[in-house]
């Protein structure tokens, strides 16, 4: 592959920049619901994505045929696309730490060392464990893995071979009684191997899911109000990703997101340091770990907010040039046939120095919110996401469990209201995907965070 790509870089004539990205992805999905196998899917998708840059315009083309003539054809298509879209003379790409050599996460127990039979057996066992509880009406479990192998070559010097391994595990249970039904879910996703993924015992996880579904079934709905809440690490991650992270993606900034022109300003409580990082921190390799981005740039740990001050946007090479900074290594493409876009990686709030117990004890009336569900956010940082469990807090004590709700607010207002951040930290979005024209594997997390937000209730 090295010789082929190296020799084809010379075909980019009449444009300022060319990029060849070979990407092979081997996928496996095993899914069981109600004791029945719903998927045993093995997929192999491979090809070359070709990109050219000229006068501020990009052309992109892709081919699944790995032969010189097909790739040359794709290069010609990309060149003509770039020349058609490019209207700005003088546009350039920003400086970056271009990768050369081989990059792979450290993995002790590779997924390939475990047979399909073992993976299937584990999924069936966990699903049947959830279903074994008498109050469970329905259960599902799935395992998914993506094994990537890439070569990223650019006309200005990147020569990277990138290997990656990202497994995920999901459990789902529905409890039902008197015509009412409610679900609970748990999921895990990491960058790494088998043992790393299953640091939590799947059987215990199954029990957690089943009991939570049962408890939620009997729970009441909270009333709607603006309230003091404690977000768990997963929700802190979701807030960081959905509500803040998207508004600092430089392409959104350029099109007028609320963070435009706010670098250096105080946008959050000084207790908040918010990071988007390609490398992982805090123990295991988080699910959104990216060592080299899809423009061949070595990724970095980017401090978006430092002690409450907005410090940086998230950049690819093009936006880095416009802002006169270096690329932060946020250009990512999901598959060979997708072009790199500015995407997040592992997005989180740094831990503080409080304990969760202290944080609860200081609340007169409020909620502890746990379990991130889906979420959406807006250019103005207004967000909405669903939460599985809400525990009432009264007079400094944790009280009854309430049905999951949606919470919303303006994310920067919410971050301004942060008055306590816990020592305890974890990544908790590793089974998550972010959708922005194409998918991206991301992770997020944080400490427990106390703040004010709106709770959508029933009264």
């Amino acid at each position: 592959m090295h010789e082929l790509l190296e020799s084809l870089l010379g075909e980019f004539s009449g444009v300022e920049y060319g990029e060849l990205r070979y990407h092979e992805r081997k996928g496996l999905i095993v899914s069981v619901r109600q004791g029945e196998l719903e998927a045993a899917n093995s997929t192999v998708y491979s090809g070359i994505g070709v990109r050219a840059f000229h006068h501020g315009g990009w052309g992109f083309s892709s081919t699944s045929r790995i032969d010189r003539e097909s790739i040359k054809g794709a290069i010609l298509d990309a060149i003509s696309g770039a020349r058609a879209a490019g209207k700005k003379e003088g546009a350039r790409l920003g400086e970056a730490s271009l990768a050369t050599g081989r990059f792979a996460p450290e993995i002790e127990d590779p997924l390939s060392a475990h047979s399909f039979e073992e993976k299937l057996a584990l999924v069936r066992q966990a699903e049947s464990k959830v279903r074994s509880f008498p109050f469970i009406a329905s259960a599902a479990c799935s395992y998914r893995e993506n094994l990537d192998h890439k070569y990223i070559y650019t006309t200005d010097g990147a020569r990277a071979e990138v290997v990656d391994s990202k497994p995920e595990f999901r459990l789902f249970g529905v409890a039902a009684a008197n015509g009412d039904r409610v679900e609970a879910r748990e999921s895990m996703g990491i960058t790494g191997g088998w043992t790393d993924l299953f640091r939590k015992d799947p059987d215990e996880l199954a029990e957690t899911v089943a009991r939570r579904a049962r408890d939620l079934l009997g729970a009441k709905h909270p009333a709607g109000e603006r309230a003091v809440v404690i977000l768990d690490p997963g929700l802190a991650g979701l807030l960081s990703h959905e509500a803040i992270g998207h508004t600092v993606e430089a392409d959104f900034v350029l099109s007028g997101a609320i963070t435009k022109g706010k670098l250096g300003q105080k946008v959050a409580s000084e207790l908040v340091t918010l990071v988007d990082s390609g490398p992982s921190q805090y123990g295991r390799l988080a699910g959104g770990t990216v060592l080299v981005d899809d423009e061949g740039v070595i990724t970095e740990r980017t401090e978006v907010i430092k002690d409450g001050i907005l410090k940086s946007y998230l950049h690819n090479r093009e936006s880095a040039a416009l802002f006169e900074v270096r690329s932060t290594g946020n250009a990512r493409a999901y598959e060979y046939s997708d072009e790199p876009l500015i995407r997040m990686r592992n997005t989180y709030i740094e831990p503080g120095d409080r304990t969760l117990e202290e944080m609860i004890s200081e609340i007169n009336e409020g909620y502890l919110l746990k379990g991130a569900g889906g979420g959406q956010a807006d250019a103005n940082a207004e967000f909405m996401f669903s939460v599985q469990e809400a525990y009432r807090i009264k007079d400094g004590k944790l009280g009854e469990l309430l049905r999951g709700v949606a919470i919303s607010g303006q994310a920067f207002e919410v971050l301004q209201s942060v008055d306590a951040v816990s020592k305890e930290f974890r990544f908790d979005m590793g089974a998550g995907y972010c959708g922005k024209l194409q998918m991206a594997k991301v992770d997020g997390g944080g400490p427990f965070v106390r703040c004010k937000a709106i709770i959508g209730g029933r009264k």
């Binding site: 109600q34 899917n41 997929t43 409610v182 109000e225 909405m384 919303s408 959508g456």
Partner: protein
């Protein structure tokens, strides 16, 4: 041009040779061009092939599936071998039987004869028209991104029971998304999209102006109030709020596995008598129509809810076989996974009143033009934020709203409908679902202000 059915045949025969009892090959070969704008400017022109082959096999009624995007003989053989080897390791299931062929009627209008000639230049011209239309509408309009896309794909499916079908379809689509910005004030995001089988059926300028109008109208939004009142959902909000949970509840797989609130409700009232929903995968020229489904069976024109009474669930052949009945032709999905269940072109029957009359009768409520939520399809619980909305007071729209939420249970909402508009809008989300819907009014909803 490789004969797609020949490749399917190679895959099916190879699977039988390797020891599968039954085999199915689903193949897509497509070419797609698209032009994208970012931050108000033309940014990217792409062209690429979208190819895939999915092989489903049953060995002793045990499932295996493998998929690949490279079509040489050796790769196909390796992929088939993978599917067969998976099927040797999976549990038996008596319902794992491939469907028998049924007569297929060719649906007209799914391919535009002009599609081959539609080139990058035309896509760029259309994009420039869209951008200009949005910008000229109002200088405060900010376009985050816009897309013009043209795709041609041939789909072929063959199985060892004698199913053999192939069809070429074209699909043109566009999308525009952004906000309005007035000095420091940034409105909510909004977007508009449309898709059609024929290029001439799309009007980019109209889509762009509707988008621009919606974001400008949402400037100056202020917080709402908390009350129990009426909501009127626009077709966009209907798609966001109602369609997912309804389709979940009528998908036979969810019904059979205890995940549908409507299990055992066929023939019973599940909604207000005002509500009638149909799904028609045979609609001539429909953006989600096809002459056959993912398994090679014809789509149907199916009534899902008639006058509030649940009529039919959606089946693929696996779920149909479990109940000893026929598939409704709702096998869905692409080449990368086993057939799932999905809708095609949905229509919610319109009502008699005009949209203005629906609003005029509301003492206090919200017109919801865009809603952001993650409705829980199992319980029907929904709680979300009004992203585009207007307060209604004494029958009149008084002001745009932000940070206003409403909550409740979608399945309960369905029995609290108090009016459907005469006007309908067509929304076609590429490759997923088409919807024609009126404005829908629902009474007695809990609304929370921030």
């Amino acid at each position: 041009m490789i004969e797609l059915l020949n490749l399917c045949e190679l895959a099916v025969e190879t699977a039988l040779k390797f020891g599968a009892d039954e085999a199915e090959a689903f193949l897509t070969r497509g070419r797609e061009i698209s032009v994208r704008a970012e931050a108000n400017e033309l940014k990217l022109a792409t062209s690429h092939a979208a190819d895939g082959l999915g092989i489903r096999v049953f060995s002793d009624r045990a499932l295996g599936f493998a998929s690949v995007n490279v079509f040489d003989e050796q790769t196909i053989e390796e992929t088939v071998q993978m599917a067969v080897s998976l099927s040797k390791a999976t549990p038996q299931d008596e319902h794992n039987v491939l469907p028998e062929p049924r007569p297929i009627k060719t649906i007209s209008g799914l391919y535009d004869d002009q599609a081959q000639a539609f080139g990058m230049d035309q896509a760029i011209t259309q994009m420039e028209e869209m951008l200009a239309a949005a910008r000229n509408y109002d200088s405060r309009v900010m376009i985050d991104s816009a897309l013009v896309n043209a795709a041609i794909a041939t789909h072929a499916v063959m199985n060892s029971k004698g199913i053999k079908a192939e069809e070429q379809r074209s699909l043109f689509s566009h999308f525009i998304m952004g906000m309005a910005r007035d000095n420091e004030e940034v409105s909510s995001f909004n977007h508009r999209f449309d898709s059609a089988r024929r290029a001439s059926e799309l009007d980019g300028k109209k889509t762009a102006m509707e988008f621009a109008g919606s974001v400008v109208a949402s400037l100056g939004a202020t917080r709402g109030e908390s009350f129990a009142g009426t909501i009127i959902l626009s077709p966009d909000a209907v798609l966001e709020l109602m369609i997912g949970p309804i389709i979940w509840a009528v998908s036979a797989n969810n019904v059979q596995k205890g995940m549908s609130r409507w299990a055992g409700m066929a023939g019973k009232e599940v909604a207000s008598p005002m509500l009638t929903i149909e799904d028609n995968g045979q609609l001539a020229g429909g953006a989600c129509s096809a002459s056959f489904d993912r398994e090679g069976l014809p789509h149907t024109h199916l009534t899902i809810i008639q006058d509030g009474v649940l009529q039919n669930y959606l089946y693929n052949s696996y779920t149909a076989r479990k109940e000893g009945r026929g598939s409704t032709g709702h096998a869905s999905g692409g080449t990368r996974s086993v057939p799932a269940i999905g809708p095609t072109n949905l229509t919610i029957k319109h009502g008699e009143q005009s949209k203005e009359e629906l609003i005029g009768e509301v003492e206090r409520g919200i017109l919801v033009t865009r809603f952001s939520s993650s409705p829980n399809p199992v319980s029907g619980d929904v709680s979300g934020v009004v992203k585009g909305g207007f307060l209604i007071e004494h029958g009149k729209l008084t002001r745009p709203l932000i940070e206003t939420m409403f909550s409740g249970n979608l399945f309960e909402f369905l029995s609290k409908l108090s009016g459907l508009s005469r006007e309908t809008e067509r929304l076609a989300f590429p490759q997923e679902v088409g919807l024609v819907s009126p404005y829908i009014r629902i009474d007695d909803v809990a609304i929370t202000a921030g």
